[in-house]
Amino acid sequence: MIRFLLNGLLRDRSRSLFPLLTVFFGVLLTVFLQAWINGAITSVVDSTARYRTGHVLVMTRAYAKEADQMPIDLALLGVDTLMTGLRHDDPDLLWTPRISFGGLLDIPDEHHETRAQAPVRGMAVDLLSPDSPERTILDVRDAVVRGRAPVRHGEILVGEDLAERLQIQPGDTATLISSTMYGSMSITNFVVVGTLRFGIVAMDKGTLVADVADIQQALDMADGAGEIIGFFRDGVYHEERANAVAAGFNQRFAAVPSSPTAAFAPVMGTLRTQSGLSDYLDYIDAFSVVIVGVFLVAMFVVLWNAGLTGSLRRYGELGVRLAVGEDKTHVYLTLLAESLLIGVIGSAAGTLAGLTVAYYLQIHGFNIGTIMKDSTMLIPNIVRARVTPLTFVIGFLPGVLATLSGTALSGIGIYKRQTSQLFKELES
């Protein structure tokens, strides 16, 4: 029977193709939209993850208490061992050390004396390792306005406005004056090889990006880092998994509270706990439900409508079938079966296509910067889709149900038709 219906559908293009395309596109749009919304409204969270907290974050207990003060005297030590452990225990995250620090950037004149000076906030990330996870997490190469990204030790990038203020060009030497982990003054020369545009005034005016190994050296923190961030390989924050990873880690490193080293025991937090965006995360969850809900209703009506028109269109054909003696219920059921087939095939294909597009945009992202004036900005100008478990089902069920119910409603008309009137109707 199904084969018969399928043949019918395949041979009559107008009976199959248009409804199928409608369902296909409707479902595709819904699936994609759900993933897109998820991605778009989590883009704030995404930039926080990339810049500050990762998806999970390891610090010392003491550091965690005042992380926003950049207390490098409380930084993690033994980072290599910790990283090896983390990579082994949680391989589905990318792990990388970072150091946030403050200091003064001092520009020398030809006599090696101060020509200009400005306070900076430094970000030390792994810029130079050939397999650095930062290539995925925070690719500075895209945001370089002038000059280039560092390729060897001793090279740094600074915010474009900072460079302008200090009147430095790529290639100039700059001295970083900061404090070592032990509080001594640290004076280190770097070569500014490029400038960055973040799109946030505070950062453009005062940020310095350096390689983490250089800063470990400069701040006397061998094998140390302020933080180790963990980033899910797919770039997406998975709350349950992040919680599980953090819980597991904290269990392994549960410190004896009374021990003198307890303050320096590592502790892992998640994006939600560390970013202060907990309210925001709740809020965007609620918001995305509203948007997707509205869209779902719209799609349901469109597909239902398509189901209805599809059946109404076959008024004549059904008349003939009734006229030749086919049972009304049989006609109705075949109509339903047909629409079920269309719904299932269309929804499956639509879901598959929607997921494909969504996955593509989850990985590659859509660069809003390209349609904006300031096209080289580091801060969230890339919007990514985000596939969640819901994405897999959100289009499918409504796709099938809407098509089926549309047909079911319009098909009721079959029972209203009088057999005695059929030939008259068909003549007209």
């Binding site: 107008s14 248009f18 409608t22 596109f25 409707g26 749009l29 819904t30 994609f32 939209l33 897109w36 919304i37 778009a40 883009s43 208490k65 005042e66 926003d68 003060q69 207390p71 400005a118 306070p119 799109g199 946030i200 005034v201 505070a202 005016k205 005062g206 202060g276 309210d279 709740d282 809020y283 609620a286 948007i291 509205v294 869209f295 209703v297 719209a298 799609m299 009506v301 469109v302 239902w304 409508n305 398509a306 209805l308 028109t309 599809g310 109404l312 269109r313 859509f366 809003i368 349609i371 904006m372 300031d374 969230p380 100008n381 919007v383």
Partner: protein, 390 residues
């Protein structure tokens, strides 16, 4: 005119089918306006909150003041010039003195900004009135983020150390009079608010300020020597960049919604052209030109959007009016006392949004309605009469 009447009659005669399309299309109308209104509301509210809490009608900065360079703070203060002083006297502006300081919660030290504000000021929404009660010592208010990061709570005492303008150390305990909750991070992170007169006395800066904030809608009194006026477009530039970026993301959403609605229209048009061949043939046989038939069918399709606009207005206006008046409650909002910025979100539906969306949807519907009708151009009336679509 004939085309329009005919199209409308055809459309209405189609009954349920038309109305389903109309309803689907009206969803797009409502959803686009509703969401964009929600979005505009969010932006406007953030902007309004920031303006109310911090920027007022613009700020005069002491010429040495650079909020991005903490090293300038030592010198960034001066006696308030007369034109600004008279605004302050008339409560149309309020001075803020900003000094670097160190606090010592739990034996660790951290750098903060000590900000002095007039407890009686009404220019900004910061709950400065909470600084009036000095019976428990020097009152201070902090934001909830600061409270969270320092572990300070209402009623706690904390030692604050600073230097006066001559470099002399001073340290006193302040009492946290209240922890306020605000969506505006710039009045919260790493700062403590205390009464202006106390800070002036402690730092030996009588009648001085770092910035003077004008009331909203107060015209700046022109250029004031030694002070630079910063207008809202300057102060809000980060926010505007962000909004611009977000709105590109949001338009993609509308594009998808519109695309969905157009799917319905396109589908209907294709079907109706396929189904109504005989009718076309008849119309042509009666003397209507091909162009006329195309116009008729396009108008029919386009009319969907007009009807949809009407239907959308019927349920959309009451719905949106309701939401715009009552607002959306935001989660976890009312846990700390203070001033309500982020507790409810009120969407904003501007005339340009409504008119713009309507024109856009009608235009797109017309184009989509026209596309399938091009087949009519190849139609032979004789074939059409026999029900053939060549």
């Amino acid at each position: 005119m004939l085309t329009l009447t005919l199209a409308l009659r055809n459309l209405l005669h189609a009954g349920l089918r038309t109305w389903l399309n109309v309803v689907a299309l009206s969803f797009s109308f409502v959803a686009i306006i509703f969401l964009q209104g929600f979005y505009d509301g969010l932006n406007e509210q953030v902007e309004r909150a920031t303006v109310a809490a911090l920027y007022g009608g613009g700020q005069y900065w002491h010429s040495s003041y650079d909020p991005y360079d903490p090293l300038t703070l030592d010198d960034a203060h001066g006696v308030i010039p007369a034109p600004l002083d008279s605004l302050i006297a008339h409560r149309q502006a309020t001075p803020i003195l900003i000094r670097p300081a160190t606090i010592y919660p739990q034996g660790r030290f951290r750098s903060v900004l000590l900000k002095g504000i007039d407890p009686d000021q009404t220019v900004l929404s910061i709950p400065s009135a909470l600084l009036k009660d000095r019976s428990h010592g020097i009152p201070a208010i902090i934001g909830s983020r600061m409270a969270h990061s320092t572990g300070l709570q209402k009623g706690d005492m904390v030692t604050v150390q600073w230097r006066d303008v001559h470099g002399t150390f001073d340290a006193r305990d302040v009492v946290i009079a209240e922890v306020f909750r605000s969506t505006v991070q710039d009045i919260d992170n790493e700062q403590i608010w205390i009464p202006l007169d106390e800070l002036r006395r402690f730092t030996r800066t009588p009648d001085e300020a770092t910035i003077v904030v004008l009331g909203q809608r107060v015209a700046p009194p022109g250029s004031v020597g030694g002070w630079d006026f910063r207008d809202l477009s300057f102060l809000l530039r980060d926010l505007h960049t962000l909004v611009r970026m977000k709105s590109v993301g949001a338009s993609i959403l509308y594009l998808l919604l519109l695309f969905l609605a157009m799917l319905a229209i396109f589908d209907t048009q294709v079907l109706s052209i396929w189904r109504r061949r005989k009718e076309m043939g008849t119309l042509m046989a009666l003397g209507m030109t091909r162009g006329g038939v195309i116009r008729l069918f396009t108008t029919e399709g386009a009319l969907h959007s007009i009807l949809a606009a009407l239907v959308a207005a019927m349920y959309g206006i009451p719905l949106m009016a309701f939401v715009a008046n009552t607002g959306f409650a935001l989660p976890n909002a009312a846990d700390t006392m203070g001033f309500a910025i982020g507790e409810k979100l009120f969407p904003v539906y501007s005339p340009s949004l409504v008119v713009g969306t309507t024109v856009l949807v009608c235009l797109v519907t017309t184009i989509v309605s026209f596309l399938p009708t091009r087949r009519i151009a190849h139609l032979k009336p004789t074939d059409a009469l026999r029900g053939k679509l060549s």
